[in-house]
């Protein structure tokens, strides 16, 4: 009858492990509290089912252990019981799914006032681009990428010139402002992931993906690449700093715009073409 004990230890041990475990998520630093709440809800519902089935099974193994003088009960089917369990399970599933879909609806609906930042992933590091004064990110193409133009901006796009280019692994963002991250990959799949923000989305070469969130706590947060991207995947790290407006503005001022990058590379002819385009608008 050690098996009964084993089943009990596994079931109750799991519950105890959960209660004393120091391994749990760090405090959330974004608006996605709904994700944490849905996990907790799922945890309680599924946990109750796990314990109930386990304990019932332990009881059965003990109570109905083999006795050569006894015979098992003969009952091929019991429609009433089977349908009751089916309906109860369906209700449980709906209770999990409904809040999950509500949170997902929020996640895929970017609020109107969100400002945009582009995150660029490549083997094995990060770059960022801010839209600049006009608030619009200029268009890009892989074909344009070279040493002078690491982001591949279209020089004939009038929205390109004032884009702020950050060719570094670290990013600063604003506290309490909804932020839409436009995600771009230059070579293979990557995924911009900050555990405290909870959100993530793969970056796919050939297309632009996105997600949004609102940081709710200032501080320094680690960026991890969450989608396998080759030998250096584990080393594709960086930092996000959630700033108040003042610190954020100071940081932005230190960065170079595309126009300044072109100028410093002696490409003033390109700037002229772009400015003409802008004037045409």
């Amino acid at each position: 009858m050690f098996v009964v004990l084993l089943v009990l230890i596994v079931i109750l041990g799991s519950v105890v492990f959960h209660m004393v475990s120091p391994w749990w998520w760090s405090e959330i630093a974004s608006n996605w509290v709904g994700m944490d709440d849905t996990i907790i809800l799922t945890f309680w519902i599924t946990g109750a089912v796990f314990v109930a089935i386990g304990l019932f099974m332990a009881y059965c193994i003990w109570k109905f252990r083999y006795d050569k003088d006894k015979k098992a009960e003969y009952e091929p089917e019991n429609s009433k019981l089977e349908w009751t369990l089916t309906i109860l399970t369906t209700i449980g599933v709906i209770a999990l799914l409904a809040p999950g879909l509500i949170v997902w609806n929020n996640f895929v609906t970017v609020p109107k006032g969100a400002y945009e930042i582009e995150v660029v992933g490549q083997q094995w590091g990060w770059m960022y681009r801010l839209p600049g004064k006009d608030g619009v990110l200029g268009t890009t193409s892989i074909k344009n990428i070279d040493d002078d133009n690491p982001f591949g901006l279209n020089t004939d796009d009038p929205y390109s010139l004032d884009d702020v280019l950050v060719d570094a692994d670290d990013l600063h963002i604003l506290l309490d402002r909804p932020l839409k991250l436009n995600l771009r990959a230059l070579d293979v799949l990557h995924d911009f992931y900050v555990p405290q923000f909870r959100a993530k989305m793969d970056m796919v070469p050939g297309t632009i993906t996105y997600y949004w969130f609102t940081p709710i706590k200032t501080g320094e947060y680690e960026i991890l690449c969450a989608e396998y991207c080759g030998t250096g995947h584990y080393a594709m790290l960086g930092y996000v700093y959630v700033d108040e407006q003042k610190e954020y503005d100071e940081w932005v001022d230190e960065q170079m715009t595309f126009e300044e990058v072109l100028a410093s590379n002696g490409k003033s002819d390109l700037i002229k073409i772009a400015l003409n385009k802008k004037n045409d608008l």
């Binding site: 098996v3 760090s26 599924t46 796990f50 098992a72 997902w104 230059l186 070469p205 297309t207």
Partner: protein, 596 residues
């Protein structure tokens, strides 16, 4: 439906249908080569499949040991990042395709289907033989990739482009990925030959009286899984061909314009996400290709060793069929954060959670079979109990990952690793182990050693639970998977080194116990306790063969005629606590069976 009702059978013996085709003689092998190597007997082919799958599976097992060593004790076994990712990739692919799929369908399918449906062999024995050798070739091609320059592919078992075929990935610009894709294509060809055989045998070669609703659930599980595989593997096949063309001929099915390490590649306009759709259109049914045979087999193990009919047989059959059908409309739940249209999330989360209902029904019915049973705690029963706990655990964590909003923080973390290992790694393996203990007396005529078996059971169950249960908590923390060097950062509330070391030690011990199991098999096949006929007192036909172990042709001169379902245990009024499927009603006149 002449023979369906029990009363009909009792009243009218002629309700058993007449033979549709005259019995045909099998090709009986005479030489060593045709008897043991290029053999056409499904039982031998099943064992060949099993041994080959286990042999390559041991490579997968040792790979996991090495990976775990790097995660917990970096530097103790010298390796670089490329080698680590090659271990990850080969471990995953070997375990999912070459071990589990081949073992359940090729191994158990071949051995059990003809015996359980009352046939002398598969319907196309020659094609069946070729099927195994094509599978064997696939394994050789896979293994050969270890010996080419650059080594095997390190693209992860999902082989996502563009990284799978570019130079930033081990084997991506060499032969590693080529051999992997060729091996998979060959595997699919071999499987198709075998798979058609299994399906047609179940549909066409059942003995008289063996209606579909009298089949043991083992056959239902393997049959449905094979149908899934026949529909799912072509998606993998074409994806592999298309990626090979991208790789070798410079086409752009999956390759957009990219710039890698400062160099612009010539591809343009392809879609990496298209590959993911094709891969998971195969990959999700693949989960059930592994799970459904396990569901079926464990139902039979529980029923036999609890001396009680499986509870709710018809519901169990429908649950298998419905799960199989639904498994084709949930694939994109592997891609919630892959960058596909976010609106897909609503559809795939809903379909995914609907699958929970038939799956839960199966769990309830297993447990309700134990209820008021007469439970013998034999080794197959112990492994079945361990399976239920593991599967319930892994199934419930699927409700986290299937619910799209919850998947966002948990995807690509160790929570995913823990979930899929519980549900489609450990759970099916526990069933495989239990069923080896169950059918070993049929295959060899001897029992496996019980004492060694008990040690094997305890270490395997406690060990594997200790590996994967704590791992979920790494996932809750947000620890990302597929990291060569474990990242210990501010993002995590507590050090993850200790827990990783614990998991690694558990993995080493659990893996070692499998070698004890192999030792048991080798020794017991020669020196084990003699089993005799039908030692578990089971009802199904595989125990009703002329000889034990069954010889070529399986049954005596006459094929058995079936009068009842495979679960007439503890029927009131019967003298014994089981009535075999081929027992005519007149032989057990007092038994009050309700279901046939």
């Amino acid at each position: 439906m002449a023979a369906d009702s029990y009363e009909d059978v009792v009243k009218n013996k002629e309700s058993i249908p007449a033979l549709e085709v005259a019995p045909q003689d099998l090709y009986h092998a005479k030489s060593f080569w045709t008897k043991y190597i290029f053999c056409q007997d499904a039982k031998v082919i099943g064992i060949q499949y099993g041994l080959t799958a286990v042999a390559i599976g041991l490579v997968g097992l040792v790979s996991s040991w090495l990976m775990r060593m790097q995660i917990a004790f970096p530097g103790l076994i010298p390796m670089d990042a490329a080698q680590y990712y090659q271990l990850v990739t080969m471990h995953g692919m070997i375990m999912v395709v070459y071990l589990l799929t081949a073992l359940f369908l090729g191994g158990f399918g071949n051995y059990l289907i003809p015996l359980m449906v009352g046939a002398r062999d598969m319907v196309f024995p020659y094609v069946n033989m070729v099927s195994f050798w094509v599978f064997f070739l696939a394994v050789i091609i896979l293994a050969s990739s270890y010996f080419v320059p650059g080594g095997p592919t390190g693209a992860g078992w999902t082989l996502y482009p563009p990284q799978a075929i570019t130079s930033g990935t081990p084997g991506g610009d060499g032969l590693g990925i080529v051999l992997m894709l060729v091996s998979l294509a060959v595997f699919v060809i071999g499987f198709t030959m075998g798979g058609l055989n299994y399906v047609i045998t179940v549909l066409q070669a059942r003995t008289r009286g063996m209606t579909l609703m009298r089949l043991p659930l083992t056959v239902w599980g393997i049959f449905t899984a094979t149908v899934l595989a026949l529909f799912a593997f072509p998606a993998l096949f074409v994806a592999g061909i298309m990626m090979t063309l991208d790789n070798m001929l410079g086409t752009s099915f999956f390759m957009p314009a990219i710039i890698q390490f400062g160099e612009k590649l010539t591809h343009e306009g392809g879609s990496p996400i298209l590959f993911q759709h094709l891969f998971w259109f195969f990959g999700h049914p693949e989960v059930y290709i592994v799970a459904l045979p396990a569901f079926g087999i464990v139902s039979d193990l529980i029923s036999v060793h609890a001396r009680k009919n499986i509870f709710g047989y018809r519901m169990m059959v429908w649950a298998i069929v419905i799960i199989g059908g639904l498994s084709f409309v949930v694939w994109a739940h592997h891609m919630y954060v892959a960058g596909m249209n976010p609106w897909f999330g609503f559809f795939f989360a809903t379909t995914t959670l609907i699958i929970a209902v038939p799956t839960a029904i199966k769990v309830y019915n297993w447990v309700l079979t134990l209820w008021r049973g007469n439970i013998k705690l034999t080794l197959p029963m112990l492994f079945s109990i361990a399976f239920i706990i593991t599967f319930v655990n892994g199934g419930l964590t699927g409700l986290f990952l299937g619910n799209v909003a919850v998947d966002v923080p948990l995807s690509d973390t160790y929570f995913v690793v823990a979930h899929f290992h519980m549900v489609m790694g450990i759970a099916p393996v526990l069933v495989i182990l239990g069923s080896v203990y169950h059918w070993f007396p049929l295959i060899t005529g001897r029992f496996l050693n019980e004492r060694l078996g008990k040690i094997h059971f305890w270490v395997t169950f406690i060990g594997s639970y200790s590996i994967y249960f704590p791992m979920h908590y790494l996932g809750f923390m947000g620890v990302t998977r597929r990291y060569f060097e474990v990242f210990e950062g501010e993002a995590f509330t507590y050090s993850i080194t200790g827990i990783n070391q614990f998991i690694t030690v558990a993995a080493l011990v659990t893996g070692a116990a499998q070698f004890l199991f192999i030792y048991n098999i080798i020794v017991s096949s020669k020196f084990g306790k003699k089993a005799g006929k039908n030692p578990w007192k089971a009802c199904s036909l595989e125990w009703r063969t002329k000889d034990v172990p069954p010889t070529h042709g399986n049954f005596d001169k006459e094929l058995p005629v079936v009068y009842r379902w495979a679960y007439d245990y503890s029927v009131p009024g019967a003298d014994e606590d089981y009535i075999t499927q081929d027992t005519p009603p007149s032989a057990v006149a007092n038994a009050r069976a309700e279901q046939t």
